[in-house]
Subunit: 343 residues, 2 copies
Amino acid sequence: MSGQRATIQDVAHQSGVSVATVSRALRGKENVADETRARVIAVADRLGYQPHTAASWLASGKTMTVGVAAPYFDVWYTGRVLAGVEQVLSDAGYDLTVYAADTPDKRDRFAARSTSLQTRVDGLLLVDFSPDTGQLARLEASGIRIVAIGERLEPFASLAIDNISTAAEAVGHLVGLGHRRIALFGTEDIRTIGSPALTDRRTGYREALLGVGLAADPGLDIDCPLSVAGGAAGFDRFLRIPDRPTAIFCLSDETAMGAMGRARELGFSIPADVSIIGFDDHDLSESFGLTTMCQPVRQVGERAAELLLASIADPAAPCEHHTVGVELVVRRSTCPPATSAEA
Amino acid sequence: MSGQRATIQDVAHQSGVSVATVSRALRGKENVADETRARVIAVADRLGYQPHTAASWLASGKTMTVGVAAPYFDVWYTGRVLAGVEQVLSDAGYDLTVYAADTPDKRDRFAARSTSLQTRVDGLLLVDFSPDTGQLARLEASGIRIVAIGERLEPFASLAIDNISTAAEAVGHLVGLGHRRIALFGTEDIRTIGSPALTDRRTGYREALLGVGLAADPGLDIDCPLSVAGGAAGFDRFLRIPDRPTAIFCLSDETAMGAMGRARELGFSIPADVSIIGFDDHDLSESFGLTTMCQPVRQVGERAAELLLASIADPAAPCEHHTVGVELVVRRSTCPPATSAEA
DNA sequence: CTGAAAGCGCTTACAG
DNA sequence: CTGAAAGCGCTTACAG
């Protein structure tokens, strides 16, 4: 309680043993007499001794810390991933240091720090990072163990859903209901940062249309941000499309809910006037009655953390890509188009 | 790029100066000849030298990292706070290490580590931590600079909204519309963990009712979790209340949206059949048309981080409590009761 | 403006 | 089972 921290020296003196023995006793190493260990532990408790973090790191070369670089911590997806990651890591005794990597500039600075990160974390989780060539080179050179989430990223281990087939299944659901003109909401990040996940989803959208002999019409792309506000603004633009589409595929649930909210505000009825399908299965999607593709986000975080832990424990662990399953959840926001013959 | 990290020694040798000079040159300290500095920087760049994190920490006593303990990273509130915190800290050159403190057990373990945290972070942000006496004592004894978010927590600096008056204003809105029987959703955490923030909100609810001469009826408390699922389940129980209330005050927007979703699913019309008001102004509340109390969560995170930075820079900085303003946002989920004389 | 040296507080072979 | 000693890689007075 008094001013100074107790050091391992203090514990050693008061226990009548060397600092080496204190170190072994406190960290549960073998080759310490039971009686000695008990005495050391008692003294350490009394003194409130806890090892100096930096001194341990420096001497042992381990930090018991994992870094997570992710875009925005206030989006639903990132929060869920983080929750899964945190649970697995804290159970394993690791701390979690987070890095916002939402802009190209921040990703650059992050990658540039990689040599120093090597002595700051035992491993790194990259969420939708999509490094460019230079960034990837630095990351590789750092020698840090890395697991990527949301994309395949050789030569590292990775974990992701199949965005192409998942998007194709979503659009296939609409096509199956009879829709032929289907708008695509949320492509802004494809244009601005070239997000691979979103690009793949658009590819799946196009493939599904091609599968029934329809060419994708660029006039149906609504280039709005992937957010609630983006979806709301997107709906206003959607209304100005000539020969209005009967359905909308949104690249995220937040976008979809923003669009639905705006639609209802304007007096449109969903799905009677327009069908909407999302992508994620956000916590609120059920309340919105939103049909969507459910991806197990939290489990993705957990599994990625486990992969990283395995790689830390065994540097020779294989660096494979793992695909995560997704499933269609049909709710009330989709139905056959009003003009459709069948109904 | 080859196997080994470069050390300050390597840079010193190749620059023909001492390690002390390298240290000064690279960290922008004064008293280094321009020409020397330039040479050192060039060598450091060529070698890809970056200081060993733990060695710097140990020698300097600073970690340039801040810890944040918060309940659940996948709830909207925490994510927003974190985003605000992260922005301010990363701009100031600090890293952010997060600790989930969602259970009493985790909070205990966290507080017990405080001596070692003292050498791991330069400061701590506690989000809705509500330490018990023992935990608070440990936190204090650690000597770590701390700023509390969401509650007053002497002797530390803190930042919070006034939950009592804010809740009273929300309920006052309903009362002003003519409602007299108003249910309260989301009290589970009051019973289980005794959350001070939620307890205050309930107090505000009761005070607002008392203000118009109404005694709070415990039969109108719906003891459900503060979540989307909690609100949905709560609505089912709400329907079984005899002499059904005409309005609902939910202790969070997520609870409110869960209730609204369930209500609509069951064919109820909001607000015609029942008015609902929330608390937060969640990103999706506008899309839901939810009337609520808007608290500037992201700014709370930013301001708390600034307070902490100030306290790190100047240990003598005052430890005051700061109150954050909240405002009523009226949307479509509230209206006068159907039975009300005025309308 | 620069260097030699002490020191930060641990962990880890190596002897015994 | 235990201790002495080296070493982890920096930063910071202190001299000069």
